[in-house]
């Protein structure tokens, strides 16, 4: 079975990549929302340190990040030493690496949106009897729709194009940890440009379609990372 001239192995890699990006984005939205909220509202001094850690993947070479995650999860790493499961070269390991790698792409847009909601708006909600959780659900979240859309898009797209981190942690096991960007790299290595073309072209069209749909859903939508 090789639809569109793309081999079954490549379809598997593509499917794995989409699953990885989807799971990673979901986890990041769940974890990133409270973190971004804390960063947007906290006055504490430790905040600057946390902000720097969150932004690290933006400047760190992916291989460095991947290397440390591998050390953490690998056979001699602290996770296994403490009786944890062997996560290196597994899908779960990939998810952990991707979550760290794409963290700033989700947290920063959310943080910007949250800080953009005026203090007065939330104070107005509290004088209208809304508790902190109520304010968050009925005022903060709806006013942050665009921020969430940006965060989800960036988180998903960034994970989709991941290479270095995945290579370090995943080890390129077909069907288990081989993602599409590495599959394309393998084709090029083997001078199989035809396969590389087909997969790359498919990815290009897919990415464009996704972005187009998102922009169309929200006409005034703008991707911004500041």
């Amino acid at each position: 079975m090789s639809a569109l001239g793309i081999s079954e192995a490549d379809w598997a890699a593509l499917w794995l990549t989409l699953r990885l990006a989807g799971v990673t984005t979901l986890i990041l939205l769940v974890l990133g929302t409270p973190l971004a909220w804390w960063l947007a509202t906290s006055q504490r001094r430790i905040k600057v340190a946390v902000e720097s850690v969150v932004a690290l993947p933006l400047v760190l070479p992916p291989t460095v990040l991947g290397f440390y995650v591998l050390m953490l999860l690998g056979a001699q790493g602290p996770v296994q030493a403490l009786g944890g499961p062997a996560l290196a070269f597994t899908f779960t390991g990939l998810v952990i690496g991707s979550v760290l790698y794409s963290l700033p792409f989700v947290v920063q847009p959310l943080q910007n949106t949250f800080s953009g909601i005026g203090r007065t708006t939330l104070e107005a909600a509290s004088t209208l009897r809304a508790s902190a959780l109520d304010r968050f659900i009925t005022v903060t979240l709806p006013l942050s729709r665009r921020g969430f859309l940006t965060a989800a898009t960036l988180g998903f797209a960034h994970t989709l194009g991941e290479f270095g981190v995945v290579l370090m942690i995943g080890g390129n096991i077909p069907g288990e940890t081989q993602v599409i960007s590495i599959a394309i790299y393998d084709h090029v290595e083997a001078t199989d440009y035809a396969s590389a073309h087909r997969v790359s072209g498919f990815l290009l069209v897919l990415s464009f379609t996704m972005l187009f749909a998102l922009y169309a859903v929200n006409g005034r939508f703008r991707v911004s990372v500041a």
Binding site: E123, T127, L128, R129, A130
Partner: protein, 354 residues
């Protein structure tokens, strides 16, 4: 009665305020920018977590050493300077936001009442971005009222509006004043608003309470800054006795005499408040027979004091129980040989403000 005793420290600012606010009518917190009036309002609403001290509203403690009722549990309505409407909700949804969050038994006012009271019928489906500043502020007032608050707090609700929008909203505030029994605390730095709306006022200066009393009293007290301001004004509460439709003049009686003020129509209520600027008062030794002034009332000089301007003299006059300020030149004072205790006749121009 609202009794407070607050302290709040911020870098470069210290607030230490103790006082009382009556549980009826409009009390205005008055003072320059930075005097702490908005901070006091925020402390009452529970929006200043670092505010220490005590707050008792109608016998119920809202704050003391071991208690801090959070903002969302205090039965207050708060109107912010810029309205602070929720931009993702329509006017109707904004109005219902607080209404839905209070128990049914505590809902004394309903959306229909407020929509009618504030004339919001035609805006219900609009968003904040589609309305003028004055309209937004009316919605904000309505939204606050719909929590059926025990106390309505207003933070310079007119400050961000232009003259036209102010005139658009002031009649609604008058109406509110007359039709609702909720006590209102109103922050402002505009003397005209105090003269028009307030029943009681607290004057603040640099985080401290300077004086409290009725506007008529505080605005004419020469030991306070208002009497010496360029726009020094006296306020007189008067009773409507007649309206002359051909001349559009309203006849009023007040403690101290009668006066006439211009009015387009006869006001609905029987009591009105008039404002007399100190510079619009002239002092004569005898009744004038051949002048254009409508209002001539006998008065007694109670005090003479210096004014910031070296040419000027501030004269405090008693017209029955009414206190009136006059600003004349020092030269006139000497020519007429004015002195405390003297009986004189005052001519003045008055403006009805509500």
């Amino acid at each position: 009665m609202i009794e407070f005793d607050f302290t709040l420290e911020r870098p470069g600012f210290r607030l230490a305020l103790e006082g009382q606010i009556p549980d009826r009518g409009i009390t205005s917190l008055f003072g320059r920018s930075g005097c702490g009036k908005t901070t006091l309002l925020r402390c009452i609403a529970g929006l200043e977590p670092h505010c220490k001290g005590q707050l008792i509203v109608n016998g119920v403690p809202w704050q003391h050493a071991e208690l801090f009722v959070p903002a969302h549990r205090r039965p207050v309505g708060y109107v912010f300077q810029e309205g602070a409407l929720f931009s993702h909700l329509t006017v109707e949804q904004n109005l219902r936001y607080g209404y839905q969050r209070i128990p049914k038994a505590e809902r004394h006012l309903h959306p229909e009442d407020v929509v009618e009271l504030l004339g919001l019928e035609s805006f219900l489906d609009r968003y904040a971005s589609e309305m003028s500043g004055g309209q937004r502020q009316r919605v904000a007032i309505g939204r606050a009222l719909l929590t059926s608050p025990q106390l309505l707090l207003m933070d310079e609700p007119l400050a961000s509006l232009d003259e036209l929008s102010k005139n658009d909203i002031l009649p609604w505030l008058d109406k509110l004043h007359q039709s609702l029994s909720i006590p209102v605390i109103y922050v402002t730095h505009a003397l005209e608003e105090v003269a028009r709306l307030a029943d009681h006022m607290l004057m603040l200066e640099q985080g401290r309470l300077l004086a409290s009393g009725t506007p008529a009293e505080l605005m004419t007290r020469t030991d306070l800054p208002l009497a010496h301001a360029d726009n020094a004004t006296s306020v007189i509460d008067a009773q409507v006795t007649d309206f002359d439709e051909s001349y559009h003049l309203l006849s009023l009686s007040f403690s101290g005499g009668q006066m006439q003020v211009p009015a387009r129509v006869r006001p609905q209520q029987d009591r009105v408040r008039v404002r007399v600027a100190a510079r619009d008062v002239a002092i004569n030794l005898v009744q004038q027979q051949q002048g254009s002034a409508l209002n001539q009332v006998p008065a007694r000089i109670t005090a003479l004091c210096d004014d910031p301007h070296p040419a000027h003299q501030l004269v405090v006059l008693a017209l029955g129980e009414t206190k009136l300020l006059a600003r004349i030149t020092r030269r006139s004072r000497d020519l007429l040989e004015l002195a405390p205790g003297m009986a004189v006749v005052v001519q003045f121009k008055a403006v009805a403000v509500s």
